[in-house]
């Protein structure tokens, strides 16, 4: 991604948009390999340093767990994690996500790493934000080939958590848990409503007027490029070097 307007990079728009959805939360957890959500969480923390905790798996500076691999999940089960991020090789219109395989799972065309903690975190974390940088009919499909974690559940299933939004390189969708459908919330600068419809494999609701995704204000940009960039460089040095041109401190 590159500069889209007024010297603002696409990643910065995503970071700011996600951070707005995390505002004032107590504890945001970020999985492995998620630099943009990680930066968004750090921006949310920078805005409320006395209220917001962030834990990033794989980080040394931003990971305070001391009870082994299970603690993140126990913590979510206790209701102590307010937001989490999930991706998907495929995501469908009911917000089902697929992290396992394309084709018959017993003899797949493509095999991905696996479901990780998604089958659980999607049920236990109130605000799960889906994040997918490749927005095409190949990734946003009508029906996933394998459900790593379902977007919705029957009413008798214990489920304090679930999908809250889906953000891509083209737009932001909100998810309506009652209807079990996405609705288009905003289109990123440089993209169009028609393009979104064309590049999305599932049906979704679309209001008459779809706003453009807001550009981050000056103060937000300063925070992203200053403290957030420095913090993110510890965990994702490649990302920080590419997007912010900074190196990890020794």
């Amino acid at each position: 991604m590159t500069t889209v307007s007024d010297g603002v990079r696409a990643e910065e728009i995503l970071i700011a948009s996600i951070a707005d959805m995390l505002d004032g939360l107590s504890h945001i957890a970020v999985g492995a390999s998620s630099p943009v959500p990680g930066a968004a969480a750090m921006l949310a923390r920078a805005r409320h340093p006395d209220r917001t905790r962030v834990s990033v798996l794989g980080s040394e500076d931003n990971n305070f767990f001391t009870d082994g691999g299970k603690e993140l999940f126990d913590c979510a089960g206790q209701g102590r994690i307010d937001a989490f991020f999930l991706g998907g090789a495929q995501i469908d219109g009911q917000a089902n996500i697929n992290l396992v395989s394309v084709g018959d799972p017993d003899k797949p065309k493509v095999r991905f790493p696996g479901s990780f903690g998604s089958s659980y975190m999607y049920f236990t974390v109130p605000r799960v934000i889906l994040f997918r940088l490749e927005h095409t009919p190949r990734t946003l499909v009508e029906k996933v080939d394998f459900i790593s974690a379902p977007g919705t559940s029957e009413p008798n299933i214990y489920r304090p958590g679930g999908p809250y939004a889906l953000i891509t390189d083209r737009c932001l969708f909100h998810f309506d848990r009652e209807k079990g459908r996405f609705s288009l919330a905003s289109v990123h600068p440089g993209h169009t409503v028609e393009e979104i419809r064309e590049q999305t494999g599932f049906d979704y609701d679309e209001p008459a007027d779809v706003p453009e995704t807001r550009l981050p204000d000056t103060k937000t940009l300063e925070t992203i490029r200053g403290p957030v960039a420095a913090q993110i460089a510890e965990i994702y040095p490649g990302f920080a070097a590419e997007v912010f041109g900074i190196e990890k401190a020794a």
Partner: protein, 271 residues
Amino acid sequence: MDAIRLDLDGLAARVSDGAKIALPPDYSYCAMALVRAIIARNVRDLHLVGVPALGFQADQLIGAGCVGTVETAAVTLGEFGLAPRFSASIKAAGIRMLDATCPAIHAGLQASEKGVPFMPLRGVIGSDVEKRRDDWVIGQNPFAENDPILMVKAIQPDFAVFHAPLADRFGNVWVGVRRELMLMAHAAKSSLVTVEKIVDGNLLDDPVRAAGTIPGLYVGAIAEAEQGAWPLGIPGGYDADQDELARYVDMARTEDGFAAYMAGTKAVAAE
């Protein structure tokens, strides 16, 4: 009581065909040198349990034909992408795959740790992960009406196989905050552990050190293996050997390349 101290081959010899072995993820403490010794013994039909995910260890064991079943929440080489021998084997239906989710692996091990036949776990219901597991059951919360809940069957590995920075001569093994290794050790029938260094004193004598130490009770045998996680790193110790890992990923794209890589690594190890 003094620990049983072996060399790598001695440890590897304990792993017989068909054994169920629990392995940590790449970012924890992986006994890569021991894995190479197991491969060298041509062990067959292993049942790998990823706690909760697998990486280079599993890819090499699978590539070498040592594996019958993989039970894990994921197999990934992290920034190096998909695991080539795992992917090839899955596509060829060469291994039995038991897809899980991280907390279900932990729950299954906790059941064995507690000596109970199962552990309840929230979530998971309605996923294909759950639907494709014959060994999980959806039961009822006995303290509520109409509240289905997943019951994960206990996972009892024959061996927990891992590396650690430090052990003492009594077999006490320091793992620090990497408590998934302690859970593995509690749950498994026995643990086979390599360490950077075996010290003479008792690690449990220092109350600060003791808090991150697995008692020798759970440890079947230990071996000293300096740089035993290589080419992976160990947290707080040495970094992963990125060039070597890249070389592996590149060569392992084909079966022949994989064989050449393993032969070369064996030759290097024998020097």
